[in-house]
Symmetry: C2
Subunit: 345 residues, 2 copies
């Protein structure tokens, strides 16, 4: 396959092109900071119902595109549809977050059935197909999944936790047993991402929110290796599709991770120094990021200065403007407007 020729700015940046004004999208850009999102969300009943109703999922995905004309659109869904599809009980409590019936050892894996995943996730693929029809022709469509380690922290803990203690208890107490959960997730995540590409996703992003919590040895085994395997598989099955990884909190290990996994681009969390990233990471490939979502809440001159700093540093190499983490509900929509104007010049 040859490198895709595209008039989509986002895809061109991913293939290494450098722009005076980079393409921009925001993680969680379809979200609670938008009144139109809150309205559709209210209609959907449960959060999972919003993810599984293509008409509503397409609608919320398009809302920020209509309002702001971002260069990329990301499928509206959640990383926990994978455990849900595997047969684990998953629900979302208002104001609390995701809850799952925890699986804490090898015996618990019995409830999971990988043969039902793609069938269960058909509504997601229908959303992807719908989006390819509805999106403006200049807007790229990103599919995504959670990384095996991060998804496992929720499956084992039954909820988010500050220290990923439950998953670590299993991973440290019975590493080979825990590896079987990671292997299962790596396999079905590959199936899931390939099916998103078949439905029309042009880029894939893998979210590894808790990549920063493991020590080096287990980071390699449970974080880096699964992404390396996924990347190798996707390179064979859909070589034209770029893969972005987001190993949040990986610190200095961003370098090794980027090199060894062979992903097309890497998304930087807020704490990554753009001067360091320009020196160490951009020679490996394009980067994405990394304005603090709370600078977007504050807005004003401090946000402007931060944007200018990113333009001066990461802007010298292949780069996609984004936040260092998802946009938060209290971000004023007018600050997003101001941000986009500043980035686009």
């Amino acid at each position: 396959m040859t490198k895709p020729v595209s008039d989509k700015k986002f895809l061109r940046a991913l293939s290494g092109e450098v722009f005076d004004h980079p393409p921009i999208w925001l993680m969680r850009q379809a979200g609670r900071y938008l009144p139109e999102y809150r309205e559709t969300r209210a209609k959907a009943g449960s959060f999972l119902n919003l993810c599984y109703t293509p008409e509503l999922a397409v609608e919320v995905t398009l809302q920020p595109i209509r309002r702001y004309g971002f260069d990329a659109s990301i499928l509206f869904s959640d990383i926990l549809v994978v455990p849900d599809a595997l047969g684990q009980k998953v629900w979302f409590e208002e104001g609390v977050g995701p809850r799952l019936d925890p699986i804490t050892n090898v015996a618990g894996l019995k409830v999971l059935d990988k043969s039902r995943v793609l069938d269960h996730l058909k509504p997601v693929f229908e959303t992807v197909r719908g989006l390819r029809q509805e999106l403006p022709k200049e807007t790229a469509l990103i599919g995504f999944a959670g990384a095996p380690w991060t998804v496992a922290t929720y499956m084992v803990g039954g909820r988010g936790s500050p220290d990923q203690g439950a998953a670590k208890a299993w991973a440290y107490g019975d590493p080979d047993g825990f590896q079987s959960l990671i292997d299962l997730l790596t396999e079905v995540t590959g199936d899931y991402l390939e099916a998103q590409v078949k439905a029309g996703a042009e880029v894939l992003q893998i979210f590894d929110t808790w990549a920063g919590s493991l020590p080096a040895v287990q980071f390699r085994r449970f974080c880096l290796e699964p992404i390396k395997a996924l990347r190798a598989r996707l390179k064979k099955s859909c070589p034209e599709v770029p893969v972005i990884a987001f190993p949040k909190g990986a610190g200095a290990a961003y370098e090794t991770y980027f090199k060894e996994t062979g992903v097309s681009a890497i998304s930087l969390d807020t704490s990554v120094d753009p001067v360091w990233a320009a020196k160490v990471l951009q020679p490996i490939g394009p980067v994405q990021g990394n304005l603090d979502p709370l600078l977007l809440v504050a807005g004003g001159s401090e946000m402007d200065r931060a944007v200018d700093h990113l333009l001066k540093t990461l802007g010298q190499g292949p780069w996609i403007f984004n936040l260092g983490h998802g946009i938060v509900p209290q971000a004023p929509p007018e600050n997003v407007e101001r941000l986009i104007k500043r980035v686009r010049g």
Copy 2:
């Protein structure tokens, strides 16, 4: 001043000596995982009362020394005694953690009075003096304080938070106003640490738990610069006293931070790869860390392997064995025993 000559292994490691078996202590080694601590804690009434009653504070500080013979002892106290001494209302809710009457803008600073700090903290200095009398002669005594940025996150937020959102709202919305809080904290933290040295502390550690949450520009201004200023001041007033900094989550910025602040040693969080630290940080100076506290909970062969990995990597340079974060209440005391045996060989 010449380099201190000491027969305390901990101090020798801090002056650059490399051992086959490094000195060891654990952050929060006087804590809830010990039944004797829980007993003394119950007698104390409030948590702050435990910190401010020298007889009880000395007792809990000595408990882990008696049980395990650690190479260093750390004054039992809390980073929030500084805002308490400044006149902010601080209390600890059982099972919730610290609570403070939040100060969210420059006007709020009026309640703070730096002239009362050293007087208010007299019981802490008495604890230090008591410890110097009671500790075995081979055990070094560490005094400590929170870093200005980290203490500020609690003072502004009124409690711990996952994103330090309140402190960031102030820092981003009114950076110069927020700077006046940081400056005040830098000054009184210097006073406080110097007074600890006068009372008998032989080493100082500065805890910067939230160093990993700020973007590079604000990290430099609100995290790194205050520590640099503190280090410069302490180098003049007590040049013989080593200062260890713990900028948790600083990632690749550990390198710049270590070089620029000029601290004597740096404490590594769990996510720092010891191979990277041996290559990049140990040439700058001694390091401390960084076993995952949850590996200490798991114990067994996975903990042993992790300890051996640290011995093989960080053990080749100047190093103090420690955890990557504080020991947790569920750590079995017998695992601490096993850990110490493994480290001491």
